[in-house]
Symmetry: C2
Subunit: 231 residues, 2 copies
DNA sequence: CGCAGCCTTGACAAATGTCAACAAACGTGG
DNA sequence: CCACGTTTGTTGACATTTGTCAAGGCTGCG
């Protein structure tokens, strides 16, 4: 792997405090790959051969059952995914595919587990990371169980607004995938956007404008215990 | 705390390999409490003062938003809960209340974090535990997004069957709480039970009988990637 | 016994999904 | 650059699923 990526990986909280020794072990076994869009990276149920790190592009984590499919997470740079499966050496629960052209690092899970066992700084960093993943999953479950699809969309838009810091922004996801992520059909999403017009949401293709955030907030009732993605 | 509980806690995977030193630190600060049924133990949003361990009884983890409420998990002996909030020192995402008379150990989160920082065996055990919690949460999200309420109930019954090893068993939850856990209303659950009669499910109060598991399995299509609660 | 809480049922309403048609956007090869 | 076909997004009509409300029965407990 070109050394140029080393620093990028080092900067991740997950690897920041690893001993030089363990870091080298990980880097020695690492591959970097460039993938075209819409390529399947892993399939749920497979054994966790690699811990993945998205350097560029984006990856969709999804799952299928009985002919249905749903998007669970979108991974953007620079982040790892399927850490839980890697460290516990159990099958992947989600499939992954690239959404765009993506550059991805593959760390053999065996190396990850080896360094994890030896390097307690790494073990502690993994705890922090997993706790965050777990909490994100709980938030997502609350979002699904406590809110209607209209409320989920409204809160999603407000989260995007906070992320970009602007009342006007581009959707970073195809609408069909956004629909799946929010737990509804594409048709339903179309109608949900219409349903938010009275609250000042203007849609033009992938361009979103929130005319008056206060009005939308009053409807969406965002909660830090569901919508804050930092803690 | 009476020493009699020490061994019980030691037997938990989470504490099995801790150094004597760290274990003693944890036990020194620990409280044991007996709670009557339907007592609120914690409220979502509160700072995580304690890591909880259920020794006896059962605890409902639930969440509220905008006047609605949903049950997310039922914790049974001997298990810890709200580990993620404790180690990362961030607010609880779920509220907790006893379902029955319960005996619960409270470990000050500060102690947990202190031992976690010093004892790498404990850190590693926490990783395993959190990875399991995370995966359980992902499974629950898949269950919710990929299945109808009838399918969720059918698979829930099959999981209970596997847990008890018998085609005839008692529901361990009040029906209204089971409904909330499965993401539906009590009325809907009543009808869902009716809807499973053609697949050989007999209900008598809290008593369930699965006449022909094959038939129910053919309908429910259980998957290890959603329904296996061990990995 | 009588009250309170849970469960069930029926009638109805709201939310969401399905299907079909068509329009718009995109990418490819000529 | 255009023409074409493919994919995505939208819309309408309709079906299904799920929730709501109200009533009544059952159960457990003081």
């Amino acid at each position: 792997m070109p050394e140029s990526h080393f620093q990028e990986i080092r900067n991740l909280a997950l690897f920041a405090n690893i001993e030089a020794d363990g870091f080298e072990t990980l880097m020695r076994g690492a591959y970097v790959h460039n993938f075209p869009p819409r390529i399947d990276l892993i399939t749920e149920g497979d054994p966790p051969d690699f811990l993945h790190i998205v350097l560029a592009g984006s990856v969709d984590l999804y799952s299928s059952w009985n002919g249905r499919e749903t998007s669970l997470v979108t991974v953007r740079p620079v982040t790892t995914f399927i850490l839980a499966a890697s460290v516990n050496d159990v099958p992947y629960l989600m499939s992954a595919r690239t959404l765009e052209k993506s550059r991805i690092i593959l760390l053999p899970s065996e190396d990850v587990r080896a360094v994890f066992a030896k390097d307690s700084a790494f073990a502690r960093a993994i705890v922090t990371e997993l706790a965050q993943c777990y909490r994100a999953a709980i938030k997502s479950t609350k979002d699904l169980k406590l809110r209607t699809s209209l409320e989920r969309l409204a809160n999603y838009l407000l989260r995007q607004r906070n992320r970009t810091g602007s009342n006007e922004f581009e959707l970073t996801l195809e609408k069909r995938r956004l629909a799946s992520f929010l737990g509804m059909t594409p048709e339903n999403l179309s109608r949900a956007f219409k349903g938010l017009v009275p609250y000042g949401v203007k849609v033009n293709g992938t361009q979103i404008r929130i005319a008056d955030p206060e009005v939308l907030i009053r409807f969406a009732k965002p909660s830090p215990l569901i919508d804050d993605h930092s803690t």
